[in-house]
Every structure is written in structure tokens, then in C-alpha cells.
Symmetry: C2
């Protein structure tokens, strides 16, 4: 791979690009070779891909606040007179879709082409007209729903899997469209979008968001993304339901999830409880739910391993026979161990339930159950 | 410092000692210079000190099991016919006392001379006759009670601070006395000891220990240490009260305690809940207590920082004016920031309450409260 074009497309010096190059990972998809930046690096977004002489910019990390009343004004201090847009943050997986050589390709957060998402999107949303008119567009959105190979979560209006656009950026530069323009354009092209709760004055936003978060929490939904009108400044905040859901999931696979992942979610609960000025009784109730998220999911996993059953991340997908095959191959290509638990045809589709086996949790849990001595 | 004697005393080759030497830390106590091994190193126990041409061996790490029914037989498999001793594990700080040049010195777990412990021990226990008869002895025990500069915990029979012997080892080699000999000798010298719950056949021990642990748990005590009759093989197991007490403490200073410290205690709760075959209702009760230990202590800390008050580890000590001075100097010498909160005389003693200020928790909590943006 030559840097003659890439360093210019990335807006980097030749030297900076030379430094980046050693962190690039090469992949192949469907006979096509490309490179991506799987980890965040100086000067370029994590998940940026270099492919066919062009750049597909990674989706920028969205910062978070633990305290709305202070964090929102802090983050949007440059936009004092502006109204920030508050949109729903959905619990699924982030995908960016671009058109290259007439072909629509879906990229994962880390910058890999996901052959499953690329194929399933074709039946979920028609992006033909959009790319015809805006060939350089990068359609950014969330893949949500229960039949989902990465992050499954139930939404009342999604039976299997669905796409919801939440951003529109320039493929090469990563520059976003202003929020209103973006929403209008997606409307024009009939592309489903995440909900817009409203646009609020910076100083009034925290109170509004708290009300929104309480509603989302009651519906077991994830949270909100706030954006400056021009789309450049972003901030996220999540519900207790999301924190606790993540904790339950992480503690069901305690030796495969990172401890910082767990710790951060515990900390968020503490700050939310304080900002919401919870009474002792309400805080105690939150504490009980938190404890259950941790302990009960751990118990279930230990019991499962004790019974000699495998544990891991269980997913169901519904697609053509070939698309499912390609997905399983893609996952195994990433070093995952996949166990197929159910595989059947339904209405012309293949419906496959599989387990991404989490070896560390199985092995460590088994060891402890066998009386393995801990030298800690 | 020359290695001519030390490598022989440690039973190491000259080369192995040369390797160790670069990990030694030099300290001064009361005009005396010595070296110790603050972290565990190959071939020598953590906390080993080289002082005045002799070796004070570190106290070995006591391994732990998460599952009594399997871990106990596993650990004591070499002693099939033997009865293992079960003694109480007390919640305080580990100390080793030796006599060097006629002077009794108390060493911390990491091998530092603790000038406070050295002095306060003189009024707690008379070791004169013991060292007269056994000059090479290393008296190992726990400093417990509420007026304690390191680990304060209430015990019904301790008003201020007390010493309880739990081991007797050769100073140089670290070899322990058999359990029965040790207990008899300490009895002879009138040295207070940790409780011996009994000696049990290996195969019956787990059931007995579970009964003991349930009693200790109800009394908010820490746990047990099991030992082979010769004192060489050890194993520990702790109560849920101890796990949850540690978690509450750690989450009251969440950015100063290591995440592995927290994680390990959560995991222990999971395995204990499963081994004890808890019903859903009992497990839920445990989960609620666990959640309270985490969230309520975090809330208290966030509230304290929000009010502009410092947080940290609060301790009270009762000793002579000079001993308290020396303690505070010793703590500050280790880089700790000490704030004295109360300092008065009572019955000829100085009673001093101080805070070891935990900077990370204060700073990070303050930052988050101020709306600091998290890029995680």
C-alpha cells in the first residue's frame, strides 16, 4: 500500500502517516484487500479504513458526562445562544455505510467491513437514491433489535433487526452535516432515523434531558446523544437501565469483560444517584437492583459451568442461508469460537442461534469450582 | 551492603542475589539503615528485610480458595490422614516481631520497620522471656482493634488496639513451628493468640468450616486460616461480611483502590452464594447487601466531596505523645498526606484522629461533579 494518496486524504504529513502505517491492520473481504486502524491512534479516528485508494473515516468517540447539570453547559460552552439537539442513543452496534465503486459496504466501529451488515442492510433500507445524489456520503447509524449478531436488545417496534440513522458525515473528512439538514435529508430519502426529542437551550437542556432519561429508563432504553446544531460537538448520557443491563451482561461473563468496563458503570450509578438527589429509600432500591445485576448473573453463569454447559454471548440472526454462512465465517475469522445451538428455516430465511464461546469465563469458573487455589 | 552473608542466609546463589539486589529498597529507622523487598520477587518472600547482617524473612502469601468443598481437599491433599487446624483470620494488619541486638522490632507486611507498632507492642505484650529463650524467633501476628493506624475493625474484646499471635517462624529461614507446638509455646509465654476452632479431618473440614464461617459472618468477623499440622501449608477463606466490608471501604475511595481488589471480592460472593446453594430469596438478599456496600458508600463519598470536605482513610490512635508523632512522621515519610482532625489527651495518652487523604478520589470526584467530560 502506497501512501501517496492516503496521507493527503487523511490530512496528515508524510511522516505522521509513516508512523500510523505500522498500526494499520490488513484485512480481506470478498477478494478485496484493505487496511484499518482498529485502535485509536494519534491524529486519526479509530476505525478509519483505507480502501481502494480512498478513506472511510472512523466514527469519532462520543464523550460522556457523569453529571448532566454541569457536563452539558461545560461541553456546549462555545454555543451559548444555541439550542442543542437531543436524540436517542440506541443500544445496538454502530455501522457506517459508504458506496465504493458502485457497491455499498458497511463498516464496523473498528473499521472492518462487516459482510453480514453489508448484506442484511440491502433488505432493511434502500440507500440507492441517497448515494446516487451524494456519492461521498457516509451514512452512520445503529443496527438494533433482538436478531443481531453483536448487540441484541429488544425494541418494541423491531421484530428482527433494523437500521436507524443517527449521523451523516463526509466519508473522507468525517465532517458531519448540521443536525437539521441531516434529519431533512434522511426524511427525503425515507431512511429511518433515531428519535429527536427536541432542541433545547444549553442552560435548560439538563433538566429536559433528565425528564427524557427517566422515561427512557422506564422503557429499558439506553440514553441520549446531545449535539451542537452543526453536528460537531457531541455528548452522551445513559440510563440506569443501560448501566445495569451492561453490568448484568458483563458479570455473566466476568472473566471475559474488562474490569474497567464494570467499574465505569458502577461509578456512573453513583453520580446519577447523587445528581438525582435520591432519598435513602430510592438509593437503596437502586443499590438492590445494582447488586442483583452483579450477583444473580454471576450465579447463573457459575451454575451453567458447574452443569458442564458452555457460556458465552448468545445471538440469533435471521437472513439468507449464504449471509448466515458468511457471518459465521467472518466471526470465526476473528478468532471466535462459535457453537451453533439452533439452525432452521422459517419463511424462506435461515434462523440461526449461536454462542460466541467465552473461554476465559468457562476455564476460570471451572478452575475455581474444582478448588483451584488463588494466589492473589 | 555486601552480599557475602546475605545470599547464604537467604539460601540463594550469588547470581540470584545479585538479581534480587536491584529490587531492594533502602530505608532508615531511628538511625538504622536496612533494606527490604517491598514486592514479591522470585525466590524470596515479599517483605523480607536485610538488616544488621541478618535476615528477617517475609510472611508468605496465604493462598485462598473460592470453594471450600473442593479447595480444602485440593490444598491438603498431601496430608490425607492428617487433621488440619482451623484458626481465626483476624481483620487487622500483619506484623512480625523479632529481636535484634537486644531490641524488639516490628516489621510490616512489606518489610518496613513500623516505629508505631514497635513502640505500642511494648505495652500490649511482654515478649522478653520468649526472645530470651528463643532469640531467633519471629513472632507473627495481627494488630487488631478500632484504634489502629492501618486497618481498624471493631472486636468486642478490644477497646483500643491489641496483638494476637497466629504464627511462629524462624526469623531467617521462615520455617514455621507445628501448630500445636506454637500454641503451647505462646500459652507458656502468656502471649494472646488467635482462636483455634479445632482440628478436623481433611474430608470433614469443609463442612465444619462452613458452620464456623456462618457464625463469624453473623458476628462481622473476617474468616479462617487452615493449616497443616506442621504449619507449612496454609489456606484462607473469608466471610461475606468481610468481602462486603472491604467493598464498602473500597467504593468509599473508588479511585484510590485498585479495580482488581473490588473485582475479586465480587467474584468471591458469587462462588460462596453458589457453594452454599442459596435459594433465590437468600441470593437476592445477598445481592441487595452487595449493592448497598457498593452504592451507598460511593454516594457518601460523592456527597462529602461535593460539600468540599476531604475524603480518605480515617484512623484514631492512642499512644504516648512521642509515639503518635513518630507514627505521623512515618506515614508522611511514605508520601501520605495526613490531616489531623482531632488531637487530645486522655488518661495520660494522646488520642489522635487523622485522615490519610486520598487525592485521586477527591480530584476525580470533584472533576466529575464539575462536569468533566469522560472520554472512555
Amino acid at each position: 500500500m502506497t501512501d501517496t494518496e492516503y496521507h493527503r486524504l487523511l490530512g496528515m504529513s508524510r511522516d505522521a502517516f509513516a508512523d500510523l502505517e505500522s498500526h494499520l491492520v490488513e484485512r480481506t473481504d470478498d477478494g478485496r484487500t484493505y487496511c484499518h486502524v482498529p485502535d485509536y491512534r494519534r491524529g486519526v479516528e479509530r476505525g478509519t479504513s483505507l480502501i481502494d485508494g480512498t478513506v472511510v473515516r472512523g466514527f469519532p468517540k462520543v464523550p460522556r458526562t457523569l453529571v448532566l447539570s454541569e457536563g452539558v453547559p461545560e461541553r456546549f460552552a462555545d454555543q451559548p445562544g444555541d439550542r442543542i439537539a437531543v436524540e436517542e442513543k440506541l443500544n445496538g452496534y454502530n455501522v457506517r455505510v459508504v458506496r465504493l465503486d458502485g457497491e455499498r459496504l458497511a463498516f464496523s466501529r473498528s473499521g472492518m467491513i462487516c459482510p453480514f451488515t453489508t448484506r442484511i442492510l440491502e433488505r432493511l433500507v434502500d440507500l440507492e437514491a441517497l448515494f446516487e445524489q451524494y456519492p461521498e456520503a457516509m451514512v452512520c447509524g445503529e443496527m438494533i433489535g433482538p436478531e443481531n449478531p453483536y448487540t441484541a436488545h429488544d425494541y418494541p417496534d423491531v421484530d428482527s433487526i433494523a437500521f436507524r440513522a443517527f449521523d451523516w458525515r463526509d466519508r473522507e473528512s468525517g465532517e458531519p452535516l448540521p443536525v437539521e439538514t441531516r434529519r431533512e435529508r434522511y426524511d427525503t430519502f425515507d431512511v429511518p432515523q433515531t428519535r429527536l426529542f427536541g432542541q433545547f437551550e444549553v442552560d435548560a437542556a439538563a433538566a429536559e434531558i433528565r425528564r427524557i432519561i427517566e422515561e427512557l429508563d422506564a422503557e429499558d432504553r439506553e440514553g441520549v446523544i446531545m449535539k451542537s446544531p452543526d453536528g460537531t460537538a457531541q455528548l452522551k448520557y445513559t440510563t440506569s437501565a443501560a448501566n445495569q443491563g451492561d453490568l448484568a451482561y458483563a458479570f455473566s461473563l466476568p472473566f471475559d469483560y474488562g474490569q474497567p468496563f464494570m467499574f465505569r458503570r458502577l461509578i456512573r450509578e453513583g453520580f446519577q444517584s447523587i445528581e438525582w438527589d435520591e432519598s435513602d429509600a430510592v438509593a437503596r432500591e437502586r443499590a438492590h437492583e445494582l447488586g442483583e445485576a452483579i450477583l444473580l448473573s454471576m450465579r447463573e453463569t457459575i451454575d451453567t459451568v458447574d452443569a458442564g454447559e458452555p457460556v458465552g454471548e448468545r445471538h440469533t440472526v435471521r437472513a439468507s442461508h449464504e449471509t448466515v454462512d458468511i457471518l459465521l465465517e467472518h466471526l470465526e475469522g476473528q478468532g471466535l469460537t462459535i457453537e451453533i445451538e439452533d439452525d432452521r428455516r422459517e419463511d424462506g430465511d435461515r434462523v440461526c442461534t449461536f454462542l460466541k464461546v467465552t473461554r476465559s469465563t468457562i476455564d476460570k469458573t471451572r478452575n475455581y469450582l474444582d478448588g483451584h487455589i488463588v494466589k492473589e
